[in-house]
Each structure stands twice: as structure tokens, then as C-alpha cells.
């Protein structure tokens, strides 16, 4: 089983420096792209590979790049941004890549920037990722010294400046347009789309935002080709995926596996099954903003389309497991409190709906809830649905809520009728 992204990552030990990275073939992809490929060729290769964005929405990366105007006014910069904000509860995959192999990301970013002819790039990094930040800064310095960054990279005439920007903390910064505002030193409010960042992004200039995992792929695809990439997955989607499992399992962790393995495989073979004395009740398959899947879904293939067909989303591919010793109401409440606190405050359904939801859930959890709340919770989940809000934050919050109510309804009722939490 190939593990291109994580092959050279040894958890707990220090990331490869430039020398080591080069020894295992690092920056070969960059050389290939710069010497033998035009930017258009890189973009069409990535398009052909059908690499889907790993930031949660699964948008085809090549298509995103191809929206960037290539013959416009080059006097002002275009931008490439790596989204390394990773703040969604239950998500810990980008950190793994950032700490484990920063050069892989940097190399991918240089090629990606070349493809869209962006001369400035930023890594928008989660504030708390101090270790990753230090590693990245060292690696970037090395790359500058080696001539992979800066002016006239590898004699190609292409220039690139790469900066690390560490955030000031807020989940919404991960939303790609809010990220742009934050990078501009403003409140991280999402922006309306259209115009898409590819047309008017950072400082009003064409900008591409991609996730860490997405960008880490680029050098591999350039080196090995689209067909190789497609062949890595079990379904037609292409590539491997970083899957994670947290919660009461024997062996929580993160693994690079072919896209499309089943939940059961992930849970049982890799995470070692449920922790002793705990039973599986359900899971959010890809971070806090995805719908619960339950026992009956265990054989669902974990790729973008299949998970969606089962009523949830692959999201970030990091699963949070709900066991029978954990109160599902408390679980949902915890997640909704997070979303309520992280709302940017711009649009009404999110700003006002989430706190209401949070209050009702708190009250149910404490045993003071009313039966009407159940309908009101459903109502709010629908009210905050896609299209109703300005960005995808509140619709994301609605997912665990609506599915939680669907699958664990009896638990909610029990809290209300019993006027207490059965788990306490």
C-alpha cells in the first residue's frame, strides 16, 4: 500500500531537513515542473488527476486553478494561500503533515504558485501550532537558501515569496474568504461569492486557497502523473487520504489510506476497534461539521460521493466516535456550543440561531428541557441550512444537530422526561 504523503513522516521525531528530503527525492517534482512544464501544463495535469480539495468541501483543485486569469495585469501580484488553520473539532490531519514534512508542502506550494503564476504565497497557520510554525520557518529558510524560493527560481524566471502567517484564533478563519480578510488584518468575516477568490481574492487580486493536504499532493502528482494518482484510491476519486479516528477507540490515530476504505475497516483494523467496555453508537465521519453515521453505515466507503449518499460528508476524513458511555446530548451540545461561540456574527441565522440551539441543548442536558425544544431544535437546524446563511459555518453546525436528533432522539426525550441526564 503506497503512502506518498506520510512515507517519510515518523511521528514524534524531527521532520526531514532539506538534505534528507532531497535524498528521498524531494524537490524533483519542482525541478520537473520548472524545467519541462508550462504553468498551463501543470494545471491541466492536476485537473486531469481529479485531485479533490482536502479542506472539507472536495472541490476539484485543477478546476479552481483554471479560474485564475492568466493573461491579466501582471504588475500586481496574484496569491497562493495554504489553508493550515485546522480548527474544526476532531480534525488533526494537517498538523501531522505540517509537523512531519514541511518541505513536501513547500514544494507543492511552489509548483502550485507556478501553475497560477502567483508571486506571493502565504501559509495561514493555526495559532496553536507552534511546533509546526517553527518547522515551517526553518524549512522556508532552507528553501530560500537553496534557490527554491525567491527570485528566478531554478533559472525559470519565476519568483515566489513565501510567508507564514500565524492566526489570532477563530474557527471561521478557516473559511477561505474569511481567511482572506484575516490575512488583510481585518475581522475574519466571510466574503460573498461570486466573485470567487480566483477572480478577486487577497487585496482584490486573483487568489487560490488550498488545504495543506491538497497542496502536499502536488509534487507527487507532477512526478508520478495523473494515472498513478488515480490508481491510488479504491474508488474512482483518486489518491490516498489522511484518515483519523478519535474518541473511545483502542488505538486513536491517523493513517494514510487509499480513498474509499470503509468505516468499518478504519475503525476496526486501524483504530483497533472500540475501547474495552465501550460500544459504538455512531460517529461524525469527517469532523464536527458532518452528519452522524451509525452502525448501519459502517460499510460505507469513505470517499466524497459515497459518504454524501449515506447522508453525511467526508469532510476532513477525521472521525469522532460516539460511544455508549458518552451522552449523545452532551456530545451534540459540546459541538453546538463550539459553533455558537465561533460564529462570526455577520448573518442572522447563525448568529442568533446557534446560541438559541446551544441554550436549549444545555437545558436538556441539565434536565430542565421542554419537549417543545425538540421541535425547535429541528426547526433551527433547518433554519440554518445551506443557502440560508452567508457562509457554510452554520450549515456545518446544523449537520450534527439534525442527525443527532434523528439517530438519538430517544436519548433526548429521556433527558426531558426523566428531568436529568442518564449518564450522570
Amino acid at each position: 500500500m503506497e503512502r506518498p504523503l506520510t512515507k517519510y513522516i515518523t511521528p514524534g521525531s524531527i521532520a526531514y531537513n532539506l538534505e534528507d528530503y532531497k535524498k528521498v527525492g524531494g524537490y524533483a517534482g519542482l525541478k520537473k515542473a520548472m524545467k519541462n512544464m508550462t504553468p498551463a501544463e501543470v494545471t491541466s495535469l492536476v485537473k486531469g488527476s481529479n485531485l479533490l480539495g482536502r479542506g472539507g468541501a472536495g472541490f476539484p483543485t485543477g478546476v479552481k486553478w483554471s479560474l485564475v486569469p492568466m493573461n491579466g495585469d501582471d504588475s500586481k501580484p496574484k496569491y497562493l494561500i495554504c489553508n493550515a488553520d485546522e480548527m474544526e473539532p476532531g480534525t488533526f490531519k494537517d498538523r501531522y503533515l505540517l509537523e512531519g514534512n514541511p518541505h513536501q508542502l513547500i514544494e507543492g506550494m511552489i509548483i502550485s504558485a507556478y501553475a497560477i503564476r502567483a508571486e506571493k504565497a502565504y501559509i495561514f497557520l493555526r495559532w496553536a501550532y507552534k511546533k509546526a510554525e517553527a518547522g515551517l520557518r526553518t524549512a522556508i529558510n532552507e528553501a530560500y537558501k537553496a534557490g527554491y524560493l525567491g527570485k528566478n527560481i531554478l533559472g525559470s524566471g519565476f519568483n515566489l515569496e513565501l510567508h507564514v502567517h500565524s492566526s489570532a484564533g477563530r474557527y471561521i478563519c478557516g473559511e477561505e474568504t474569511a481567511l482572506l480578510n484575516s490575512l488583510e488584518g481585518k475581522r475574519a468575516l466571510p466574503r460573498t461569492k461570486p466573485p470567487f477568490p480566483a477572480v478577486s481574492g487577497l487585496f482584490g487580486r486573483p487568489t487560490v486557497v488550498n488545504n495543506v493536504e491538497t497542496l502536499s499532493w502536488i509534487s507527487h502528482i507532477v512526478e508520478n502523473g495523473a494515472d498513478w494518482f488515480k490508481g491510488l484510491s479504491l474508488t474512482g476519486t483518486g489518491g490516498t487520504k489522511l484518515y483519523g479516528v478519535s474518541g473511545k477507540v483502542k488505538n486513536p490515530g491517523i493513517w494514510e489510506l487509499p480513498l474509499g476504505i470503509t468505516m468499518r475497516e478504519l475503525l476496526e483494523e486501524h483504530a483497533g476497534g472500540m475501547a474495552t467496555g465501550h460500544k459504538f453508537r455512531g460517529a461524525l465521519p469527517g469532523g464536527a461539521s458532518t452528519d452522524f453515521l451509525i452502525e448501519e453505515h459502517l460499510d460505507v466507503k469513505m470517499d466524497f460521493t459515497t459518504v454524501a449518499a449515506a447522508g453525511s460528508r467526508l469532510g476532513t476524513g477525521t472521525m469522532i466516535v460516539l460511544d455508549d458511555k458518552t451522552c449523545p446530548v452532551a456530545f451534540v451540545h459540546n459541538v453546538e456550543r463550539f459553533f455558537a461561540l465561533e460564529s462570526c456574527g455577520w448573518c442572522t441565522p447563525c448568529r442568533e440561531g446557534l446560541p438559541w440551539v446551544e441554550k436549549m441543548l444545555a437545558s436538556i442536558e441539565e434536565g430542565t428541557g421542554k419537549m417543545e425544544y425538540l421541535d425547535l431544535l429541528k426547526f433551527n437546524a433547518k433554519y440554518m441550512g445551506p443557502g440560508n446563511t452567508f457562509c457554510a459555518h452554520a450549515p456545518g453546525a446544523a449537520e450534527p444537530l439534525q442527525s443527532g436528533l434523528k439517530y438519538f432522539y430517544d436519548d433526548f426525550v429521556e433527558h426531558i422526561t426523566g428531568k436529568k441526564c442518564p449518564w450522570k
Partner: protein
């Protein structure tokens, strides 16, 4: 300009409509008369999609039965668009938006200042949200003290973000913002303190609920539905913003902006909104007062006593001199002129102002150069401000300039397929690319931040720059040499920008009191038009009817002194004018000494009024009808909001009475305003168009007059029940088609006669949508006002020379230049108690280096000596004013008249 765009067809509820593709769906529906609830969209601010209330259902095609929810404010209008507003799902969604907003709204409508004209109330009713399902405690906030104009009640906030978008993005204010996040967002200042921006009052109208309310109204709180309202025109500067003046119990209670698409649009400045309190001042002259020789104090008299007193002095053989006023209506000035005769009529403004105003008026009338409306100023794409401190002398122009500089990015946005109503992306795209604005003034202000270049220099150098620009455009233009080095280069840059612009604009004015600057501005306009450019020229004048007065034949004030040098004056009539603001004390006193009898008509006991033998209570704008001509040349009518029960009368009515006494009833047959206007139009050709100023007093809708009061006006009999329980007789208003009543046709009066905005479903000012052809467009039936100067074909251009020169400063002397203040320099508004709180004490502005030379610090007091007059003033140090110049605040309450610019000296105290 872009040609008319082809209309597209859209379907709403299965019905087809024609629509403009450059609009968004919400605007489109609102202009079609179809209501869609909304909060965050504002026609002047564009769309941001925050409140989510304007949701509608959009269908892919005819076969799409499900559709999806979209925000109409963010939806471009495209051919074949199919939408539904009544779809049950989207209706339910909209009511959910209100429901969730209400989770934190305090429901304090009975005690809320916004109650009865609250956009949130309108929307709650419109969406049908009724029952409360949220049963948790509400969030509460601390309220801030925001100064004399605006009161703050954050608990009522519904987070539409309109306030910060207006205050910051639109008006350039820096001290109001949004803080925190999630459902804790807070709109206010960093700390308590008065709002600094000159347009803060618009928050009252922009805020859809009672967070920002009018503090001056709050003091005597009254509901919208209990006010009597009249369409009015602001009296506090020459721009002539349209206002709504509202009365209750005989007092003026507030001023709101009245929409005029060509003039002020949706907004007015704080001087205009809060300056009204002078009308209610307790020192108002309300009775006729006669000061007889042997009495110390003037005595109130009745009408008969007055007539017997004036009978003699008004007779035909008496020599009467009349001094008119730039703050009195055309009609009052005309009545005075008629009474005293053209040869004895003076304009009553300072000599310099007279000179400059005359030059300007002649120029505008004969060169055919366009004077732009504010709306046209917003369309300018290259602008030069020459010597005029707009923020203080014509605030609304500075607001318009803020919009104008955004035109350049508009082109780029269109190129990228971004609709101009889509506010955030347009701003984001714009970054620092702006239409060129050049500001050449002696000191800096907040407009500098949007300027491409600023030029800080002496008056002479500013004028030189202007002359150089004209010369670059046309070799025939005259020259004014200067040894300042950067002038040539900058002039070249400015000339280039102006020449290549589609709508170049030159702005100057008379507040500098400097002939060379005005001449320079006129020369640039001439030079531009000589090369075929459709240049616009906007000239700021000091007062609300300065241009109107300038249209009258008449002498300068100085000439009046000459006129009487050798003769005795039998009677001197001063119309709404404090002469001590126009000339040195000695000259005015001299004039008074030579006059056997002084008759003064005015509102407040200023120094001139105090010198009167006969003092007549003149109606203010709020108690009278009349016409002003703004700086654009637009004649605009205002109507009375208050029916004064005292002796207070329109000046033109007083003077009309005197004319009858003087000439007898046969010669002048004026019974009401329309009659005066007609004879004025016949007598002076410049006013001939005023005959078209319709509708006249005889206009009726459904054979009734237009009510000044809303249908809900309560307590017609109860309000005076402590005096009499009988139903009082309605006050009559012979001069206008408006009635002091709630009865009559409420909907859609002619555009110039809108006393308040109200439509079924819309009690808030948003009802305005129904009065305009499209949001942000023109009033239905055309924007009010008649332009008296229309561009004619240009005649032979001539260029001005430098004109009279200012005295050069000697050693130890400074050039003292006038600094007008938005709060304080205007006579009437400076009496208003809220404005007074914002008024500085007299001060002088100097450069740090100059301050060091005479070793004074910021905040020190010094004695300033100008033309032998000494004045104690506070020192303000400013980094932008150049060395050798000292700006003196002028016309502040209590300050004497100074004929500046001139030289002056500092003495330490």
C-alpha cells in the same frame, strides 16, 4: 456614459416584469412596488447579504417546482429569472429571521424613541412573526454616551451592520465600529465620547431600530404620528439639502433628511439636522417691539400701534434704504427691494463676499459651464478642490466626493463581472485605486485621506497652482507666477487628469475671501471648456440663499455706506441680517447713527436687532414659505411646519404690508406667496422660470389639500384640553397646498410637497421606496427644484487676472486666513444648544515650527492682533498648515468681524 441597457424579462409569482439588468433583485422589486422585507440593504450602501431577511425562492426553470432560497439583495437580475416571494417555505424562513432577531430584542416599543417609525416593527408585521418561542434570558449591553446629537441603546440592535457601513465606509468616520463577534457583536465607540463624524445624525435614519436616535428629539419626545410635518430646505449652508421639518405643540421637534435624488439623496449633515433648535430658542423675537427715544427697553406693541409708528416713515417721499440678506428667502428680499426701490437695495454681505459672489454669478450665468448637483458630483472622475475647506463650508460636497473617488474601480469591477451594488467585493477590488482627487488648501482635513495629491500652501500659491493648471490646458490663459517649485509638476499632473476625465470637476468657493483663488478656479473651468471638455464647476457660497440674493440687482454693503455718506437716511430696514457679522463694528455703528429710524426683521436678538428702533418678529424657515437658490442655481421651495400663533410673520408678509402702506393697495396686489413669486418672475428675468414652480397654492388632490399630519395623528382635541375642550379651528395656510390636518390624500403627493413618508406597511422612513422611481433614483415626478441657470452654449471665453491682492506679511507678522467651522460659524445653527456643545471656543491654527518661534504651546491662549482689533484666542497646533499662515476660526459666537485674509501679530498673554 453607458448607454441605456436593454431591459430583461423576469417572472415574479408567474407574472412577467421588465427589469434593468444592472440592478439586484431586491431593488428591482422595490421599484416595481413589490415589498420584500429586508434590513441590511440600503440603496446608498449597496448589498452585503448579512441579515438574510430578503430571502426569495429562485427556480431553475418552469419545471423546477422545488426551487431554492436566495437572498434577493445578492441576486443579479438576469433574463428569464423566475422567483417567488410568496412561496410558503421562503415566507416561513423570513419570519424565522425575525423570530431569531427577536430572541435578543428588548420589546421596549412603548418606551422606545423609534416606536411608530421603526423598520423592525414594519418588518415584524410584514413577515407575520407573532409568537415568541425563545424562553431564555436576553443578552444585555452597556450603552454609550455619544455626545449631544445621538443617543445609544445597544440592546435594541439587530446587527444589520448598516451603521458601521454608513459611518465608516460611506462617510469616512473612524470612531464608530463593530466590536467582538458571534451574538455579542457591539456597535459603538472604543470608549464613551461624542461621535466625531459630521454625518453622524444619519445613523438615526440608517439604523432600522432604536439604537441610534435623535437626542434633541428625545428631550421632548413625541411620536412620528403626532408630528405635523412640512417639506423644507436646510438654511445652514449653500447646498440646500432637502429636509422634513416636524412640529408638535408649536415647537420644531426635529429635522430629517428629505429625499432629493439630485441634491442630498438620503442624507444630510449634522449641522443641518441639529441646527434647528434656534427656532425654539427662548430668546426668539415673538412680538413687535418698539424702542422709543425715551424708553430704555423696547416695548411690545400691537399691530395698530406699529402701523401708526411706521405710517410716517414709510411714506413715498422718505428715503428708505433696505439691506437684504443671503439667509432670507427670495420672496423676502424681493419684497424689500420692491419696498425701497432697486437703487436703495443692498445685498448686506461683506465687501469681499459681494465682489466674489458677483464674479461667480456673472460667470455662471454667461459661460454655460455646468454647475453640478451633488448627484453629478458623485459621478465626477477627476476633481480639483481649490482653496475651499469643504468639510466645514459644504459638508455634503465632501460626502459626495467620498463617493466620487470610487468611480474608477467601478470600471474594473464591471470588467470582472462584479455588480456595483455588491458592496464588499467592489470595495475589496478597489483597494487604493481611486479616481483622482486633488486638494489644494492651506491646511489638511479628513478628506486628505482619499486624495491622490494634496497641496498645502499659501493662498497665493494655491491660486498660482490654479492658474498654472489653466495655462497647461489652454495657452491663452493668464499666468500667476510663484517661486514654489513643485507647482509646475503638480499642475501638469492635475491638468492631465482633468483633461482625460469624462466628468472633470473643479470645486472652489468664497470662504477663503480670496479673489485670486476664485479667479483661478474660473480660469480652469474656462480652459477646460475651451478644449471641448464638459467640465463641471461647483462653487461654494456662504449661505442658504447667497446665490439667490446675488441674482438681485443691488449694491454692496460698502456701497450702502457711500450711498448715505452725504444724505441722511430716514429709515433703514434690515432684513434677517446681523450686520455686525458683515463689517467692522465702526462702520455698522456709523450707518446706524446716520439712520433716523432702524427697522429690523429677524428671529433672534442679535446685535443688529438690539440696535433696532422697530423690531419685527420674522418667521424662520419653519414658520414660513419661501424659496432659496442653492449654489447649483436650483431654486427650492420650503413650507411652514409651524403655524405660529404669535405675532411672528414671514418677512415678505411684513414687507408686503409696508408696501401697501407706502404705495397703496392699487399698485401691489400681493395676498399670498404665489403673487409675489409671479411679480418677481415678471420683474427679474432670471426668476422667470419660477412661474413653472408648480404646484401652487391652489393645487388639490382629490379636491383636498395635502395633510401635514399622518392618519394616526392623535389628540387634535385632547392636546389642548387643558385650555379648551372644544375642537379647535384648523389653522389656515393660504400660501401652500398643504393643510395643518390629518385629513386628505395621504399617498404620493407631488415630489416637492412630500411632508412625510408613509405607505401601507411602511411606517419607517423606508416608505421612501414608494416615492422614488427606483432606490437611489429620482423622486417620482422628478426631483424637486428648478434650476435657474441652465448651461447655454458657451460664449467667448475670457480669462481673469489675479485680482486684488492681500497684504504681504512683514517681519513678525502672519497671514491670517479664515477658518470656517461646521459647528459655530453659521449664525443660526450656532444658537442651537446641541450644536453649541460641539462648538469650539475661538482658536487660531498654527504650525508647530511657528509655535516654537513665538514659544507657545497647544492649548495656550494668545492675543491676536489683526487690523488693530485684538482678540484672545486659544492656540491649536496643526502639522498640516504651512509656516507663516495662521488660520483663525471665524464667525464663532461672540467673535467680532474680521476682514481677513490679512496680516496679523501674536502677543503672548
Amino acid at each position: 456614459m453607458s448607454l441605456e441597457v436593454a431591459m430583461v424579462k423576469i417572472s415574479i409569482e408567474g407574472k412577467y416584469y421588465e427589469a434593468k439588468p444592472e440592478k439586484n433583485l431586491l431593488e428591482t422589486c422595490l421599484s416595481l412596488g413589490i415589498d420584500i422585507p429586508h434590513f441590511c440593504f440600503h440603496p446608498a450602501l449597496g448589498s452585503v447579504g448579512a441579515c438574510r431577511l430578503c430571502a426569495v425562492k429562485k427556480f431553475r426553470d418552469k419545471d423546477d417546482a422545488k426551487g431554492r432560497i436566495v437572498m434577493s439583495c445578492m441576486e443579479p437580475v438576469t433574463e428569464g429569472l423566475i422567483i417567488s416571494i410568496d412561496d410558503p417555505e421562503v415566507k416561513a424562513f423570513r419570519s424565522s429571521v425575525i423570530e431569531s432577531l427577536m430572541t435578543n430584542h428588548p420589546h421596549d416599543c412603548p418606551v422606545c424613541d423609534e416606536g411608530g417609525e421603526c423598520h423592525l416593527q414594519d418588518m415584524t408585521v410584514m413577515t407575520g412573526h407573532i409568537y415568541r418561542r425563545f424562553d431564555f434570558p436576553k443578552r444585555t449591553y452597556y450603552n454609550q454616551e455619544l455626545g449631544p446629537f445621538i443617543s445609544h441603546d445597544m440592546n435594541r440592535c439587530i446587527q444589520c451592520y448598516r451603521c458601521v457601513r454608513f459611518y465608516g465606509d460611506y462617510a469616512g468616520g473612524k470612531d464608530l465600529n463593530v466590536f467582538a463577534s458571534r451574538n455579542h457583536v457591539y456597535f459603538g465607540r472604543h470608549e464613551d465620547g461624542p461621535l466625531e463624524n459630521e454625518f453622524s445624525g444619519n445613523l438615526v435614519e440608517v439604523c432600522p431600530t432604536g439604537v441610534f436616535t435623535d437626542k434633541t428629539l428625545k428631550k421632548h419626545f413625541t411620536r412620528k404620528w403626532d408630528l405635523s410635518n412640512a417639506p423644507s430646505v436646510c438654511v445652514h449652508c449653500s447646498i440646500g439639502c432637502n429636509t422634513i421639518a416636524s412640529e408638535r405643540y408649536g415647537y420644531l421637534r426635529r429635522i430629517m433628511s428629505r429625499y432629493n435624488g439630485a441634491v442630498n439623496g438620503y442624507f444630510i449633515c449634522d449641522r443641518g439636522r441639529f441646527g434647528y433648535e434656534f427656532v425654539n430658542d427662548e430668546k426668539r423675537i415673538k412680538t413687535v417691539l418698539i424702542h422709543s427715544k425715551n424708553e430704555i427697553v423696547p416695548e411690545p406693541v400691537n399691530y395698530e400701534q406699529l402701523l401708526s409708528c411706521l405710517d410716517q416713515s414709510l411714506s413715498r417721499n422718505k428715503n428708505i434704504i433696505g439691506i437684504g440678506s443671503p439667509r432670507a428667502s427670495l420672496e423676502s428680499n424681493f419684497a424689500l427691494m420692491t419696498l425701497v426701490g432697486k437703487e436703495n437695495f443692498c445685498h448686506g454681505i461683506s465687501k469681499k463676499e459681494y465682489l466674489l459672489t458677483n464674479t461667480i454669478t456673472e460667470f455662471l450665468q454667461h459661460t454655460g459651464i455646468r454647475t453640478p448637483s451633488l448627484k453629478q458630483i458623485e459621478k465626477a472622475d477627476a476633481i480639483l478642490v481649490l482653496g475651499e475647506d469643504l468639510t466645514n463650508t459644504a459638508p455634503m460636497i465632501s460626502l459626495a466626493l467620498r463617493q466620487a473617488v470610487r468611480n474608477l474601480p467601478n470600471e474594473e469591477a464591471k470588467g470582472k463581472g462584479i455588480q456595483l451594488w455588491n458592496d464588499a467585493p467592489v470595495r475589496e477590488l478597489a483597494q487604493d485605486s481611486k479616481s483622482p482627487l486633488f486638494i489644494a488648501t492651506p491646511f489638511g482635513d479628513s478628506l486628505d485621506e482619499i486624495a491622490e495629491d494634496t497641496f498645502r500652501a499659501s493662498y497665493r500659491d494655491i491660486a498660482s497652482l490654479g492658474f498654472a493648471v489653466a495655462l497647461k490646458l489652454d495657452k491663452k490663459a493668464s499666468e500667476l507666477k510663484s517661486d514654489k517649485k513643485d507647482i509646475e509638476k503638480l499642475a501638469g499632473k492635475i491638468a492631465f487628469s482633468l483633461k482625460n476625465a469624462k466628468n472633470p470637476l473643479i470645486i472652489s468657493g468664497v470662504s477663503s475671501n480670496d479673489e485670486s483663488i476664485v479667479n483661478a478656479a474660473l480660469n480652469i473651468a474656462t480652459a477646460l471648456s475651451s478644449i471641448g471638455s464638459k467640465a463641471m464647476l461647483s462653487l461654494v457660497l456662504p449661505e442658504c440663499n447667497s446665490l439667490g440674493l446675488a441674482f438681485f440687482p443691488g449694491k454692496s454693503f460698502e456701497d450702502a455706506f457711500h450711498l448715505i455718506e452725504n444724505k441722511e437716511i430716514d429709515t433703514l430696514i434690515v432684513l434677517e441680517n446681523d450686520l455686525f457679522r458683515r463689517a467692522e463694528k465702526e462702520s455698522v455703528n456709523n450707518l446706524f447713527k446716520k439712520s433716523r429710524q432702524i427697522v429690523v426683521l429677524d428671529h433672534l436678538p442679535n446685535k443688529t436687532a438690539q440696535a433696532a428702533d422697530v423690531l419685527l418678529p420674522a418667521a424662520t424657515f419653519a414658520e414660513s414659505e419661501g424659496t432659496f437658490v442653492n449654489n447649483e442655481g436650483r431654486a427650492q421651495r420650503f413650507y411652514k411646519a409651524i403655524d405660529s400663533k404669535s405675532q411672528v410673520k414671514e418677512s415678505w408678509r411684513w414687507l408686503g404690508d409696508f408696501i401697501k402702506i407706502r404705495y397703496g393697495n392699487k399698485e401691489v396686489l400681493w395676498n399670498r406667496l404665489d403673487d409675489i413669486v409671479e411679480s418677481m418672475a415678471n420683474e427679474l428675468p432670471v426668476f422667470s422660470k419660477l412661474k413653472e414652480y408648480k404646484p401652487g397654492a391652489d393645487f388639490r388632490m382629490l379636491s383636498t389639500k395635502i395633510p401635514r399630519q399622518t392618519m394616526r395623528f392623535s389628540g387634535r382635541t385632547a392636546m389642548n384640553a387643558n385650555i379648551s375642550v372644544a375642537e379647535p379651528k384648523l389653522s389656515q395656510d393660504p400660501d401652500s397646498p398643504l393643510a395643518f390636518s390629518m385629513e386628505g390624500q395621504q399617498e404620493m403627493p407631488p415630489s416637492s410637497l412630500v411632508p412625510f413618508y408613509w405607505m401601507p406597511g411602511w411606517n419607517s422612513v423606508q416608505a421612501m421606496y414608494d416615492y422614488v422611481d427606483e432606490p437611489g433614483g429620482s423622486m417620482k415626478g422628478g426631483d424637486p427644484g428648478i434650476r435657474l441657470i441652465e448651461s447655454t452654449e458657451g460664449i467667448e471665453n475670457t480669462y481673469f487676472g489675479q485680482g486684488s491682492q492681500n497684504n504681504a506679511a512683514e517681519k513678525d507678522e502672519w497671514q491670517i486666513i479664515p477658518l470656517n467651522q461646521i459647528f459655530g460659524s453659521d449664525e443660526l445653527s450656532s444658537v442651537s444648544s446641541s450644536v453649541l456643545q460641539k462648538t469650539h471656543e475661538p482658536f487660531v491654527l498654527i504650525n508647530q515650527k511657528d509655535a516654537d518661534i513665538i514659544s507657545i504651546n497647544d492649548g495656550d491662549y494668545v492675543q491676536l492682533e489683526i487690523l488693530k482689533v485684538k482678540l484672545r484666542v486659544k492656540v491649536k497646533i496643526d502639522s498640516s498648515i504651512i509656516q507663516g499662515l495662521a488660520g483663525l476660526s471665524v464667525n464663532l459666537p461672540g467673535m467680532p468681524f474680521f476682514n481677513i485674509p490679512d496680516t496679523g501679530k501674536f502677543h503672548k498673554l
